[in-house]
Point group: C2
Chain length 366, copies 2
């Protein structure tokens, strides 16, 4: 097992937490929970993950709390469930379980479960502790660091939520064996992104280990997950409230969000759209004169080797630009992109319309 310590800024040292990574951790949750001495535990999961790991997780939890006070709340899965109504049902579940200020909420599942359950933990009695047990590669490398929780509004993703740090994260690499291969690739998109924006050596190592990661090798997975968490934690620690450096984590995401929006959030997984977005961001960086063609080719090769789309042709340039202008991260209508200055170094830039258009044309947008 590897452990990454996420240390938030000095003034908030009380909110640091460990991320444990390794095989079989679902059965060993009691070791991480016991020091927290919760009065009770409520495990929140979706129907699929609950069927696979719910009983084992609750059994491990029961060893860490007096009189086995462990309850379960099961929600339907999927991004469409990430609503205020589902949030309300998790709150109802906490009330039914007679949760109190000493209760630990355990979020067992992918990003949707973590986001909803984390927001419920943030809001119940104005904040109880929670632990994340992410069961997708994307959640293990992305949602487990940063403290973002929330639900969607019909008018926008993650419009309602809170910053709430977990007490710990336990990423069990064995749970990835039940994940569809497409979702493993989607997680790799965020892993590659972390390397691209902050650490060239890590990017190269991940690119080299991609076959082992896709084959779900525990050692390769743990190394990739730990490295990603370290990079994201360092950025978040510098900027817990997303005013500056944290924006770098949006590398590939402005393009990716537009791809998702233009394809109705169904054709492509978020990670797949981000994978393609990394290729677009690399191409745009080259047009701005920041990187050369060889570096763009390395990005495209790594994304392709991860079995992610490197090109999604046929989308409307006009609709894509309109979507990107409306993006929550845009400020006052102008589009800021995260672009590469090198493999391993990213910056924010406002981009001339002509360069953006050229990137979209080259990528097969119409």
């Amino acid at each position: 097992m590897r452990t990454v310590d996420v240390s938030l800024p000095a003034a908030r040292a009380d909110r640091s937490y460990p991320i444990h990574i390794g095989p079989g951790l679902v059965d060993r949750l009691d070791a991480f929970i016991a020091p927290l001495a919760p009065t009770s535990i409520v495990v929140v999961s979706d129907a699929t993950v609950d069927g696979l790991y719910g009983a084992r997780a609750r059994a491990a939890c029961a060893k860490a709390v007096a009189r086995g006070r462990v309850a379960g709340v099961v929600i339907a899965g999927g991004e469409g469930e990430k609503t205020l109504a589902t949030f309300g049902r998790v709150i109802d579940g906490l009330v039914e379980a007679r949760a109190d200020r000493g209760t630990l909420l355990v979020a067992l599942g992918g990003g949707v479960v973590g986001d909803i359950a984390g927001f419920a933990a943030a809001a119940f009695m104005r904040g109880i502790r929670f632990a994340q047990v992410p069961t997708t590669l994307l959640a293990q490398v992305d949602s487990s660091v940063g403290g973002k929780t929330g639900v969607n509004h019909v008018q926008g993703k993650n419009l309602v939520g809170a910053f709430h740090q977990p007490a710990f994260v336990a990423s069990d690499t064995q749970t990835l064996k039940s994940l569809p291969p497409r979702e493993v690739s989607a997680g790799l998109a965020e892993i590659l992104k972390h390397g691209l924006l902050a650490d060239a050596a890590y990017f190269d190592a991940v690119a080299r280990d991609t076959p082992a990661i896709l084959a779900l090798d525990d050692v390769a997975l743990a190394a990739a997950i730990a490295g990603s968490c370290e990079i994201k934690a360092a950025i978040v620690a510098r900027d817990e409230r997303e005013s500056g450096d944290r924006a770098l984590l949006n590398l590939g995401h402005t393009f990716g969000h537009a791809i998702e929006a233009l394809t109705g959030y169904e054709r492509w997984l978020h990670g797949e759209a981000v994978g393609c977005g990394l290729c677009l961001a690399a191409d745009l960086s080259a047009r701005l004169g920041l990187v050369g063609g060889a570096q763009v080719a390395r990005v495209v090769a790594a994304v392709g080797a991860a079995r992610l789309p490197v090109r999604i042709a046929g989308l409307s340039r006009e609709a894509a630009v309109a979507s990107m202008r409306g993006d929550k991260k845009a400020s006052a209508g102008r589009i800021r992109f995260i672009v590469l200055e090198a493999i391993g170094r990213a910056v924010q830039r406002e981009v001339p319309d002509a360069d953006l258009d050229a990137t979209l044309v080259a990528a097969g947008y119409v």
Copy 2:
């Protein structure tokens, strides 16, 4: 105009804010808003307060934001509206107003509006700025300090919410002229409580000024409101997360909550129940040997002069104790009370059943 600066602990100095107190501030909100340079303003109010002050408040806001970007959201009034559904409607209103991260939410109204709107500000895009313009005496002396926001659940009050500090508070003493006299007295209960638990000189001054406060004299009101805010701010600054000293603010509340619960939350206003609760807490303190009968008499006289109930006879002792044991502030079934060591000094104590019973019997509980 008086201004009280609420300084939170050193590590959180970025979240300090001023409380402005005086007559006519609703028409001068632009002066407080301009330094915040919001991109737009959304004024949240209830139907009654919106009818009285909404237009004036929005007109003042419009002077402080470019292109007059001011929208209004009106909710129904009353504690029964303090639900997750109403919270969702305020979020909808923010979305309809095209609010963004630079938007300022202005909560114009009593405690219910402040609690719901404050939680909406805490959760919208994971936190936007908000200002409180409390229009009841209770909200001016209680909700304006502490950062507590939230809504009720059918199983308990304030079960869902957030700690979110306002950018500023503007307490317009003139708005109290539209308040029913019972609500002025209810506000006085919390004012007397603040004196009792922290400052004997302030308690005596408030008791002396009670007729002027009930007559809505601007100078007496501003002095009482400022003093209360200073006392509460000092306590909250020592204990922002309610683990220790902040519990002292519950003086009179354990009894008061039980009175409200046993009378269906309709017969008595919260402040009236707290006023009676102060008398019960004083009596209990005497039974514990902490204060003498003369001090109990001073408390009862001050509560009575504020036109608050000093005795609510006929309630069930058994039901009252059961209600107090289930109180959110109780820990593991034992009841901790805030009791007086003197006028101006309070402490937490676990109380023998016999003393509690004697207090209830003496107060006419059956």
